[in-house]
């Protein structure tokens, strides 16, 4: 689905009445009269809301049928959910990088504490490579930025 259509779908659902209409239609197709019944709104007002939902691709109406029942395009809603999930996954990936940076900071702090306590002590993070002291690791990280 094109991004501008998704934006229209999000904008259409920013309205509480239209969200109610979508919730009602998730139970099954309904006519304008049936949709208007629970509201203090005229069928004309409901039709206006439905037009916004229709332009956003969220609902369709069968042109040929006499009653012209309104049908919810559920897959559009699924795509909207997927859309937010992608954004969430992107933020999650960023925060996992932050997790790793925080782990490294903790390791650096422990190493610094160990050196302060005993100059002969080898810090935990430097154990694999005695040349990878605190400054060495900083340089390495600096290269990536």
């Amino acid at each position: 689905m094109a991004r501008d259509q998704l934006s229209r779908a999000f904008a259409a659902l920013a309205d509480p009445t239209r969200r109610d209409l979508v919730a009602r239609l998730s139970l099954g197709d309904a006519t304008v009269g049936e949709l208007a019944a629970p509201y203090r709104l005229t069928p004309q007002a409901i039709s206006k809301h439905l037009k916004v939902l229709e332009e956003a691709g969220l609902v369709t109406r069968r042109r040929d049928a006499q009653r012209r029942p309104v049908h919810l395009e559920a897959e559009v809603l699924d795509q909207m959910t997927a859309w937010i999930e992608r954004y969430r996954a992107q933020a999650e990936e960023r925060f996992r990088r932050l997790d790793a940076v925080l782990d490294q900071m903790a390791a650096d702090e422990r190493a610094a504490d160990d050196r302060a306590a005993d100059d002969q002590a080898v810090g935990e993070t430097a154990a694999d490579d005695p040349t990878a002291d605190d400054d060495g690791r900083r340089m390495e990280r600096g290269d990536r930025t």
């Binding site: 904008a11 659902l13 992608r86 969430r88 992107q90 990088r97 790793a100 930025t145």
Partner: protein, 161 residues
Amino acid sequence: MSSTNKTQILASDKVPTITIIREFDHPRERVFRAFTDPDLYAQWIGPRALTTKITKWTARTGGEWAFVNLQDGQEVASFFGSFHEVRAPERLVWTFTWEGAPDGVSLETMTFEELPGDRTRITGLSVVDSFEVRDQILASGMEVGVVEGYEKLDELLAKTA
């Protein structure tokens, strides 16, 4: 150990905002430092496919910041803003503008909350000026998220293993 910390995203229907909530297995002072120390910040802010070069960074109330994203040494995007408030270690408020849309600005408030066991919860609230802009920001996840993969994450995790 951090696999249980899941990012939550809330997009309000009433105001054009995005809220991000995430917990970390580290004390608040350390998390706050990873947000305010430019060398540390540049390491994780991403995105993975790009490198981040900080050009201005005065992390104090009334200070300024700017950074550019580079791809193969070429600048592909630049961002700037002000540090509205830096209140260590609990609150960070800044403005954020992408120079590609110079009239747009979001106001971002990051709250750092202490949790038991030396853990921290951060809540980031971004306020923009219209639902359209908010939705475009959400939509940006679509492009970057797919391309990005998990390579950079794997590298970092391997480094700290």
